[in-house]
Subunit: 359 residues, 2 copies
DNA sequence: ATCTAATGGGTTACCGATAACCCTTCCGAT
DNA sequence: ATCGGAAGGGTTATCGGTAACCCATTAGAT
């Protein structure tokens, strides 16, 4: 592409006619055409300082004619502020996180920030790359779901560079920071209580990796709930697994090899619940006829999905919305010195993945 | 937060120990500590110029000790290049677009670019705001799904400012640009042919807004397919609607008021298909017993969803991947002068939303 | 008529990094 | 001994914008 050396090429007899590509218009171009200094243009743009109405109008007119768009990099460089926040999640195809993203985006927009979205894929390495980008871009803050306990170093890097952040959904041992998390313990309690009310006694936990705080908490809640229901807690019924669909094949195999075979499973999240269901189906195990499944969150499409998982549904939109609000409060210095921790409650949704145990 | 005036505060007896927040480290700080000039640091970072191994090592060591992270804004300002591309979609909660996003992200990563994601919500106003941000941020290019024909002005703005872009899924009349789109005509043909093979004769089109190119093309395909099957084309059976779930209530009402009531519906996309299904269910209309539904794309969770929509499934991941590749080819000057247009084929997936018409 | 202060706007330096150009030093060739 | 050039690295200007400071006018107060 060709870059025209000067903006003057755009001047035609009928005024400033923009045609074709004309390189980058700067405040200096505007200044020249409006017969003022660059500073005056800057003042008009930012509505600062004292400018006569006449000058302001003239500058505005020239800006419009030349299609001026401010350069965010130049401005960010001098102001040390970008008005961009970043949302880093572990799986953008998980409906929980897409809903979080929407909440985050709406909140960011309404507070005058732009959202830069990233996807770490439950992968600490990818996460690190994103954190590097974030630091390099000098975004004003980050809302992120830590991939796991290994994320500690990344979070420390953020602190080191003075980039505020809020942990979403998970927290990391040894890190004290603003966070928005769910109440896993109470969620598990509701789920187990419900299973027990249906008559289940042999309940397994397929829990994700205990490298992730929610998995640990759900495990803890599981123990507590079993005890509260006077059911024996059996280590054999606790499986540690990955969070991907394909991790569930082995888990299903394992569960079915136990004796007695559990009559219900608490899956670590919606993806693992789905994986388990698929694996059971492949083995012609009926859900909920032979095994009931309960889990957290929601896959969306409630009235289309069969079976609909009985689930402790967390307010995903709120996670994103409140997370961004907390982040921006921190960025703009509206927070207390001490980190705040917001614990959101979940709601038991009874679906068709649960039923009475086989006798 | 407190900003330490100087990096020297970080110097301890055992070397450079970074503790707490220490403001922004620049190449000048590195230079000072390594006893070289800033330019030398820049050369080490970028692997340009001639640097002795000894100096290079020393600089690298200091960079690591001070946790240096380059400032992308400063670099971008002088290089006129950000290595960021933006993906702007109309609905981030639509599984088609989340999959596109994943493909786009993977492609961008592998080509050394970062992805800035945005969501226009099928809303030209929001889209404009995003375009402004994009221009202001000086990202290197944009992959976007135009919200509608009104997007023309936004695309022209991109051209005007020399920002390359690729249109995704939809094109805009009067705009000639790189694009990656699906073959709607053939998709509709497959769907209608299948319906006809089941015995349907009264097929309706609930088509989205004809302000969107895919809707127009699907309409066109609909006419052609009806004719090819020697079925009468009846304007009454063509509904123009929005793309949101709640737009389908009125559409369902309208369809059911026709006489004869159509025995099958071609929905404009997966969201409208879902909305129709819900509306029919609320009226106790059985799908596919009384009405069959066919559509485009895929909601995911194939083995969980009931009914699974019979659909012309487009390769969403490829849309994102190839779109980004095309964009980056353009950015890096590897494209022909003329815009290229990539048309991706779809595949007929037969689900349980279709059956023989009621007699 | 003089002083004061508000009004309107220009100058200069700087944000952090890189391009372009320049200057040593040192080595081998003649 | 002299010269050419490669190696290694420093200086300065610049990207586009804003803060801080400065300088004319003009209007109102006394």
């Amino acid at each position: 592409m060709m870059k025209f050396g000067t903006i003057n090429l755009l001047l035609t007899s009928n005024g400033y006619q923009a045609e074709g590509w004309y390189g980058m218009i700067t405040i200096y171009d505007i200044a020249k055409h409006a017969n003022v200094s660059a500073m005056t243009v800057s003042r008009v743009i930012n509505n600062t300082g004292r400018i006569s109405d006449k000058t302001r109008m003239k500058v505005r007119q020239v800006m419009a004619e030349l299609n001026y768009v401010p350069n965010a990099m130049a401005r960010g460089l001098v102001l040390q502020k970008t008005n961009i926040v970043s949302l880093l999640v572990t799986d953008i195809t998980n409906p929980f996180y897409t809903t979080v993203a929407r909440g985050a985006e709406d909140a960011a927009r309404s507070l005058g920030y732009k959202l830069l979205l990233g996807n770490s894929d439950e992968n600490a390495e990818k996460e690190k790359e994103y954190i590097d980008t974030i630091l390099s871009t000098r975004v004003d803050g980050v809302l992120l779901t830590p991939a796991g306990d290994d994320s500690k170093g990344h979070l420390e890097a953020l602190t080191l560079h003075g980039t505020p952040y809020v942990a979403l959904d998970r927290d990391v041992p040894g890190i004290l920071c603003d966070s928005v998390v769910g109440d896993s313990i109470s969620g598990v309690r509701k789920l187990i209580d419900y299973l027990v009310s249906l008559g289940h006694q042999h309940v397994a936990l397929v829990g994700g990796t205990f490298d992730v705080s929610t998995a640990r908490q759900r495990h803890q809640g599981f123990k507590e709930a079993m005890e509260a229901n006077r059911l024996p807690y059996n280590e054999e019924l606790v499986l540690q697994t990955g969070y991907r669909l394909q991790d569930m094949e082995a888990a299903a195999e394992r569960l079915l090899s136990l004796s007695p075979v559990p009559t219900a499973v608490l899956a670590g999240n919606n993806v693992t619940a789905l994986g388990l269901l698929q694996s059971f189906r492949r083995r012609s195990i009926d859900v909920p006829g032979q095994i009931s499944i309960v889990t957290f969150d929601d896959l969306g499409y409630r009235d289309l999905i069969d079976p609909l998982f009985t689930s402790a549904v967390q307010p995903a939109y709120k996670f994103g919305e409140l997370g961004i609000q907390m982040l921006i409060d921190r960025i703009e210095g509206r927070s207390n010195e001490a980190p705040s921790r917001l614990v959101l409650q979940n709601e038991l949704m009874i679906g068709s993945s649960t039923g009475a145990p086989p006798q």
